[in-house]
Structure formats: structure tokens, C-alpha cells
Symmetry: C2
Subunit: 135 residues, 2 copies
DNA sequence: ACAAAAAGGACTGATTTAGTCTGACATTAA
DNA sequence: TTAATGTCAGACTAAATCAGTCCTTTTTGT
């Protein structure tokens, strides 16, 4: 279906939220959740993912929260999406762990190489689109 | 996950198969299924979808089968994928039937407009890649 | 100490996907 | 006529994925 997951959507929204108010300190998961009507626990996890991927930084405790680790013009959509999506390939056999099972005794390879080029172009779209462009 | 469905993969493979032997008459669903180790019933349905979308033509009866309706340089990947995929949008609210429910009281719209441009670029990749390029 | 906040694991329920099976029907070459 | 083939539709299962919730722990400012 070539659809982004909710997690990816929420990650983009959360990143946008933080970008818009970055200067004024931390944003809490609760704050983002309420502003955008996103389930709290989900956005909290997404934010944790962003921290793990060094897109955001976090501060625990009272007055803590999340903040972008970089400027919005230095964060691409692919950074954000990859932080929450495990798979970001149009076909399975392009995953890193495509050892053999899928592609070997199936003749998937008949289209693998040409699709790799398509994959490259899609990656390019998300790589070249920066967070600052969706503000 | 931004992944193509198996149906889309099979449609591409089937189209490729037909393109490669187009001159030599019809290809049967059975033949394609066995050549590529694709479940027969699935590839049969996929082929029916291709016929419905005027990408392939079919002939019933003995010696019947399927054949491409156009030259491979006149069929884009998006034609093939759209023939089998119901949704081909990265977010739900870009679907034609995105009446209201999703996007209205959720603040999804915060990212809808910018993502529409991303969607356009992805469509472009699939529109501009022709079947002949994956042979 | 307490409250606010992140961190993270376990779990459930819904949805989607892939695939199978069945059966009835239409067409056509031999 | 008969066998091979396509057409069409529905029911069904099993597995995977997704979205969401719940609960507990850790950290930290006041």
C-alpha cells in the first residue's frame, strides 16, 4: 500500500511541533499529545525513538521534555521516518537481513535490480525534503 | 512501512514476463505462476486486474492466456501498481474518500499540505519509470 | 518527600496481508 | 464433445503488522 505508519506521521508532527517552538525550551510529550490529539503513550514512544536516533534530546524530571537536537534545516524527513520505521524498503528483499529465504528460491530477483533504482529515487525524495520545508 | 504489496510485486513480475515474450503469443497464468514460483490463484487475480485496467488483454479457451495491451515503453509502473493497489497514498487523508473523520478533529492537517508535495514526487518516480526499464 | 516527566516492557485488539479453497460459468481448439 | 483455459465471486484461515493501552521504573526540580 506504500503508506507511512501512524508512528511516522506522529514523528513528523512531533518534529514539526518542536521545530516551531524550539527556542522556547522543551516540549513535553503531554503537550504535543494534547495539541495534536495524538495518544500520549504513542507520541511518547515516538519521541523516545527520535532521541535514540539523535534527532531530539530529552530532559527528565520536572520541567523536562524534548527538543530538537539540530536545526530544522539540518533534519531530513528520512531521518525522522527511519527513526520510527523498521522497514523502509518497497520490497522485502532489499532489507539488510534479506539473507536468502525470500529471494533465492522465489524468482523475486527478476525485478529486484530494477526496483533498487526506484528505491533509490524514493529515498532521495525523503532525503532531500527537510523538516524546515514542512513547517 | 512504505512497502509494496505482494500483489504489486507479482503484477510487476507478470508484466515483465509478458513483456519478455510478448511476440510469441499469450502467456498463461499457470506458466507465469510456475516460472516465478508465484501462487497460481494470486497471479491469476493480479492478471485479471491488469486486464480490467487495460494493461493486458486476455483470451479465453485453449491456447488462451494473457498478453500486454501496449508496448512496454508505453506502460509505466504506476499503471501496473494502481491496477492492483487500492491505496497508493503515503497518508490516509490523501485518499479520495478522506471525507472528514480522519483529518478534521485530528490535527493531521498540520502535515498534510507539505506531504502532498512528497506524494507528488513519489508518484512521479513511478509514473516516469516504464515497464521497459525493468526488463 | 513529592510531583512531573522520560524510559521502557508487556500486552491486547483490530486490521491487513497473503494465501487457499470452492464452485459456477464462458470460450475455444482439437 | 471434451479438455484447457479464462472469468468471477465469495468464504475462509493464518500470520503479520499496527495502533493503542497499561503498568512500572528512573530521574530530577522544587
Amino acid at each position: 500500500m506504500l503508506k507511512l505508519s501512524k508512528k511516522a506521521e506522529y514523528a513528523l508532527m512531533a518534529a514539526k511541533y518542536m521545530a516551531l517552538k524550539n527556542h522556547s525550551g522543551f516540549s513535553t510529550a503531554k503537550e504535543i499529545s494534547e495539541s495534536y490529539q495524538i495518544p500520549y503513550q504513542l507520541v511518547a514512544k515516538v519521541l523516545q525513538n527520535l532521541v535514540k536516533s539523535d534527532i531530539a534530546v530529552s530532559a527528565k524530571g520536572v520541567n523536562g521534555g524534548f527538543s530538537l537536537a539540530r536545526k530544522a534545516n539540518n533534519i531530513s524527513l528520512i531521518d525522522i521516518i527511519r527513526a520510527v520505521e523498521t522497514n523502509f524498503k518497497i520490497v522485502d528483499c532489499m532489507q539488510l537481513n534479506s539473507s536468502s529465504a525470500d529471494c533465492e528460491h522465489f524468482d523475486c530477483c527478476k525485478i529486484k535490480d530494477p526496483l533498487a533504482e526506484v528505491q533509490r529515487k524514493i529515498d532521495k525524495v525523503f532525503t532531500e525534503t527537510l523538516l524546515v520545508q514542512i513547517l
